[in-house]
Structures are given as structure tokens and as C-alpha cells.
Amino acid sequence: MSNDTEPAQVSSVAAESHAGDCDAEMQLLEGAVRPLPYHVVKELLSVGVCARCVLRLFGIEEHIYCHSSFSQSMLGSILEEETSFKSEVEFQFCSVCLGVLQFSYCDDGEETVVKKESAKDMALSIAELVKQEGHQIDGFSLEVSVPPLILENESSLLSHMKKKYESEPWFQERLLLSKCHSVKDVLKFAITKPLETLLGVKASASSFRIRLTYTHKRASKKVQNSVERNQECKRRKTGTENALHNVNDESVIADKDCSGYSTIETNSVTGIFSNGVQDQETSEHFESPIEKVSEPCHLVYVCCRTHIYLCGRYLKYSRNVSQTRWIIDEERMGEASVEEIIGSNILPICQGDNYKFHAAGREDIDVRMLGSGRPFLLEIQNARQVPSELIVKEMESKINGLENKLVGVKNLKVVGSQGWALMHEGEAEKQKQYCALVWISRPLEDEDMQTISLLNDMKILQRTPIRVLHRRSPLEREKIIHWMKIERIAGSSQYFLLHLCTQAGTYIKEFVHGDLGRTQPSVGSILGCRAEILQLDVTDVKMDCFVTE
């Protein structure tokens, strides 16, 4: 018996203390409302402005009326009581914020009108989405975007009030226009704490973004046609899904990424409506009360992580693997690509949607990339999990341990957005070192080895090689061969290894065989005979980035 009553007692105590909190909040609220000009509040309420909008327009601190469990009805009734206002209707969408601060919206997927009682309830649906998506987060950043119509309404209303009440003493005191809080700020303030509680992490400048995008069918009244058309386009884009699609294991680079859910750029539009010139016009429009709306805004809320980057250096051991996915007429060239090998092994571990591969330069499919490797960046979109150092090491071992040994990875690690700059910094100046297997039409002499090794920082002129002339401009490019060294091959008099270090952008194959005389000088012309290249390997990409510390 006692067991039954005890829990009940505990919960009632909890309820009481909770009620106690609420009471304290309510008293604070009543205290804040009391000094307001009641006749103005009544007028606002009568033209359909919601309670929170009224309070924020007067610049009242958010923490007073944004308590997460404050419901619409509670706030509304307090205001009405204090000011003895009798509302005619049960509920209507706020004529300024269009329901945003009433936590009411039209659900994008089902097209039904949703009315959340409190900020806490709203935060609950958002938190559910985050959990559904399976994101592992250590923080979140909340972004809200509202349709320009709301700002127009607000602007209209404020100018009207300015005109009507300028002379009144309270107006001077309150400096209405500058003190009012924006809809966005109020909404963010209201939902942030409950979200923090539900998700168990703090709101901060995080790579994990929660975006609420409100749009309204009725585009703003004054905006020109072009912007309206723009709005419609963006609405189409944002009206796709609530949650981002799941990744297909086979898929590679699709063009979708988080930024496709672009928020409506209110900045440029609000610029027009800032105080000043427009006031005259807007207040004229607002002779009659702001039009009451029958529908709330559409809301699309999404959560995604901004791109994470993994950097490192890759090696290519095969002469039949291209750097990036290469398909001609539905047929793949080569047996695999560096991009796919690295990307497909990392993407599932990060549980991302897509990956994009970037490298500092490239080599032909039949050229191996050896030595220190070539710097690369792998961009992972909407990763559900940011890999730890340990996991990154595992990724590296996994790729290096693949049975076919086509590709290797070094110094793999997570890097911030500065990875971009690092990789492309001075790319054109970086030198590359190669080893070519060369054949000449006569036996190699010791003199030849001397001749070659004496050439330092030699300038060559290369016309666009015939093999790329179909897609590149016909130009003559001057390049520098920094040094060369011949290494004899045991058992052969006409084959040898040519080690050379050149300026970025030099076509090595053409430098060896001369490309029908279009590269001058060439190895052949220097040695006074015909020279052919059989194999080429890149042995060093002389860049400082992405090396072990």
C-alpha cells in the first residue's frame, strides 16, 4: 500500500515545484507587462498580433516570455487579463510572425497545420529528427530563416505605431524601433535550451547545423517580380524532404549537398525595409490593419553537418588505375580509380551522404604515383560521425591492407577547411620528381650521362601535346627541367632510367620523345638520337602539406 502512495507523493512534489517555477515565471511576466501602455497592447492584440510578438516589439527580455513550457494560451490570457482585452476568436495566426512564434506551421510533408503548445514541444520534434538521422554530435548550431513577408509586416506595424504614438511619453522612453527583438532571435532563444536538454549537448559554433526554414505561400507584397520568382525557386528546392536521403553504398559523387536547402536570403530584402525612406510608403499601406492570415508558414527543418575533410597523401601502385572515375560511353577506363577506392572506404565509416575527391594535380592512368605520395582532400558531406584519431588510423590501415594493392594512403587525418588553402597554395610552383624508363636508338655512352647531369634549370618550350590538343588551347608553354640524372640498367645498353625534377605542369612523356619535335629540346634532341619512353613514375610531389608532424 505504502509503495503505491510514495511515488505519487514524489511526483506531486515534483509537480508542485515545477508549478512553483512556473508561478515565479508568471509573476515575472506580469511584472514586465504592467508598465506597458495598455491601449497600445490592446490595439495590437485586436489586429491579431500574438502575445510573444507584442512582448518582443516592446523590447521585453526574451527570458521572461520564452520559458520553454509557456504555452500560447497561457501567455495570451495573461496579456488579455492585464489589459482587459477580450478576444473574439479562439485562435488565429499572428498577423506579424504568421504563426512562427506561436510554434504553428504547415508541415511540409503532409501539408497539415501543426500547432505546438510550447517551445519544448517544438524542440521535441526537432530532436527526434536528429536522433533519426543517427548523427553523433558534440554541439549544434541553430539557424532560422523566415520569409520577408514577416519583416514587412513588422516594418509596417512599427511605422504605423511610430506615426500614431510618437508624441506619447512612453514612446520616447521605450525607443520602440531599436529595442524590439527579431522573430528569429526570439524563436532561437525559445528552442535552444530545450534542444540542449534533449540532445545532451550545448549550442555552439558547431559544424552540425539545425536549420529551420519558414516560407509563406504569399510572397511579400512589395518585392519585385524577379525576387518573387527567386523565392518560388527556392521554395521548390526547400520543399523536398524533411530529412536528408540515406546514402546508397554504390553511389559516388552526386551533386546534392546540404547547401541545396538554401535559406531564403532575407538580408538583401530587409535592406530595403530598414528605417528611413521606406517608412512613408509602408505606413501609407498600413492604413488598414495588417491583413490577417489564414495560413501559417510552411516549415522545413533539416539537420546536417557541414563538410568534414580528410586529408593525406595517396600512392598509386597500378598502371591501370585512373585518379578519378573515368567513364567513356558507359565503359569504365582502367580497372578502378583512386577516388573511388579511397572514398568508398571512408564514406561508410563516417556515415556520410556523399564524398568529393580533390587532389593537388594528377597523373595519367598509366603512371604510378610513388614515394611520398600526392596530397589529396576528401570532402565528406553530412557525416553522421566525425571519425576519431583512432578510427582514422584504422581507415588508413584498411585501405593499405586491401588485397589488390592498387592504392595506398599516408598521413590520413581530419582537417578543417584550411585544408583547401594548404593544398592549393603555390600549386603552380611546386616541383615534381619523376623516374622514366627510356630507350634510345643507340647505345648509351658515359658522355651522355655527363651531358644530362650537367643540365640544370634548363628551359624547354612545349607546344600543347597532340594527345591533349583536342581539349586544350594550342599554346607554347615554357617549362623548367630543374635537374636530370641517368641511371644505367644492368643488362641493357639502350634502356636506362631517367630521374628528373621539373616544374609543375611539364609534360614528361613529350619531353622524352619530343612529340614530333613540338617539345624543344627533348631527351632525344639532347642526346642526338631517337628516344622513346616506356614507363613513367612520379617519385615525389614536392609539397609541404599533409605530411606527418
Binding site: R467, V468, H470, R471, P474, A490, G491, Q535
Partner: protein, 217 residues
């Protein structure tokens, strides 16, 4: 060369010996950095050196590897044998085949003049990826005139298409035609439209067919 081999084997032996010694004393991670770098160099070098037994005595030339050779015997005139090398990307390099009449003249070719027809072919400037300003020529359009001590011969496009480049080195060095007409002595580079190529291809001979025709085997 055998010295090299001895050197290399000795080096390898040295490192293997020192390797095993080190293994007894310290663990992999503690191997000094310098030795690791040397080890990596050795490993890299092993990858670079080819297996000599697999190397052909004479490898295929760059032209053989990258182009398919076609021939136009007696093009527009008896003895006017020209070649067309077609690259996989569609570009065609045209030039004089070794059996061209001009090479039979005493002293060989002495001068090349690109100023034929309506314009000087060596003066055009083709720019950009789209190859703007390239002149569109028919297969019988004249490219240049080749002179020997006795005679002069007109060289034509053989392929209908846009003229991308002429070998202007021939102006100063016409002897390139005598020494290597099939490589550095090429005449021009032409870009035909796919449909135009298919049409002209039917009238050209393959290398084998040409050899048989001219009894070059």
C-alpha cells in the same frame, strides 16, 4: 653495369645484416629515422627498376603507340604518297610518306612554302579550346609546296577538317623532311569532324595494305 649490380647486392646484404642486428636490440618503432628513410628509398628503388628480360629489344615508337597510321597513295597525282596518323582523340597528323616522289629527286627537299592558295597557312593563329579562327579545309586543299632541286610538289590535306597547326619549323629546316618525314617532318595537324573522318577513312589504306601496294615488305 655488372658493377652496379654488385654494388646493389652488397648494399642489400648490408641492410639485411644490420636489419637483423637491430631487430634483436630494438623494436620497429625505435628504428632511427634516417634508416627508415633509407629503407623507404630502397623499397622505392626496387619498384622503379624494370625486369630487363621483359623489355623488347626495340620498343614501339611513340607514333606507333599513340596513332593509327593510314596512307593515301597517289593523292591527286601519281607519286604523291601521303600519310595520315590518327590519334584516339580524333586529331590527324598529315605528312609525306617515305615513298613520295619528292624524295627520289637528287638532293632531296630543299624548301617548304606554306604560302599557297588564298593564304599563308603558317600565319594563322588558332586560339582557345574551341579552336576558333581555324580554317576549314577540304581534303584537296593545298597545305604547302615542297621544293626539290628539280621540281616542286603540292601537299594537300587528305582529310577534310579544321587546320589546327602547320609545322612551321619546316620553313627554316626543310631538311627535317629528308631525315624524318614520318616524325619531326610532319606537315600539319588537322581536326576532322567525326562524320567527315568516317567518309575519308574508306579511301585510305592501312599500313599493311600500303606496304603491299608499294612492295615495301
Amino acid at each position: 653495369m655488372s658493377d652496379d649490380m654488385v654494388d646493389r647486392t652488397r648494399k642489400l646484404e648490408e641492410t639485411t645484416v644490420s636489419n637483423s642486428l637491430h631487430e634483436e636490440e630494438e623494436e620497429e618503432e625505435e628504428r632511427p629515422v634516417r634508416e627508415k628513410a633509407e629503407y623507404e628509398e630502397e623499397e622505392l628503388h626496387k619498384l622503379l627498376v624494370p625486369d630487363v628480360s621483359q623489355l623488347p629489344p626495340t620498343p614501339p615508337s611513340a607514333v606507333e603507340t599513340n596513332f593509327v597510321s593510314y596512307f593515301a597513295p597517289d593523292f591527286m597525282k601519281p607519286g604523291n604518297d601521303q600519310y595520315v596518323y590518327r590519334h584516339a582523340n580524333g586529331l590527324c597528323v598529315v605528312g609525306l610518306a617515305s615513298t613520295h616522289l619528292a624524295f627520289k629527286d637528287k638532293g632531296g627537299i630543299t624548301a617548304v612554302d606554306f604560302n599557297v592558295g588564298k593564304s599563308d597557312r603558317s600565319s594563322m593563329k588558332v586560339t582557345g579550346k574551341r579552336k576558333r579562327n581555324a580554317q576549314h579545309f577540304e581534303s584537296n586543299t593545298a597545305l604547302c609546296k615542297v621544293c626539290t632541286g628539280d621540281d616542286s610538289y603540292v601537299v594537300r590535306c587528305c582529310v577534310k577538317g579544321s587546320l589546327l597547326e602547320v609545322n612551321d619549323r619546316l620553313i627554316k629546316q626543310p631538311e627535317l623532311l629528308n631525315s624524318s618525314a614520318d616524325r619531326e617532318g610532319y606537315i600539319a595537324i588537322i581536326m576532322p569532324k567525326p562524320a567527315d573522318w568516317l567518309k575519308v577513312k574508306t579511301s585510305l589504306l592501312s599500313l599493311e595494305e600500303f606496304k603491299i601496294l608499294r612492295e615495301l615488305c
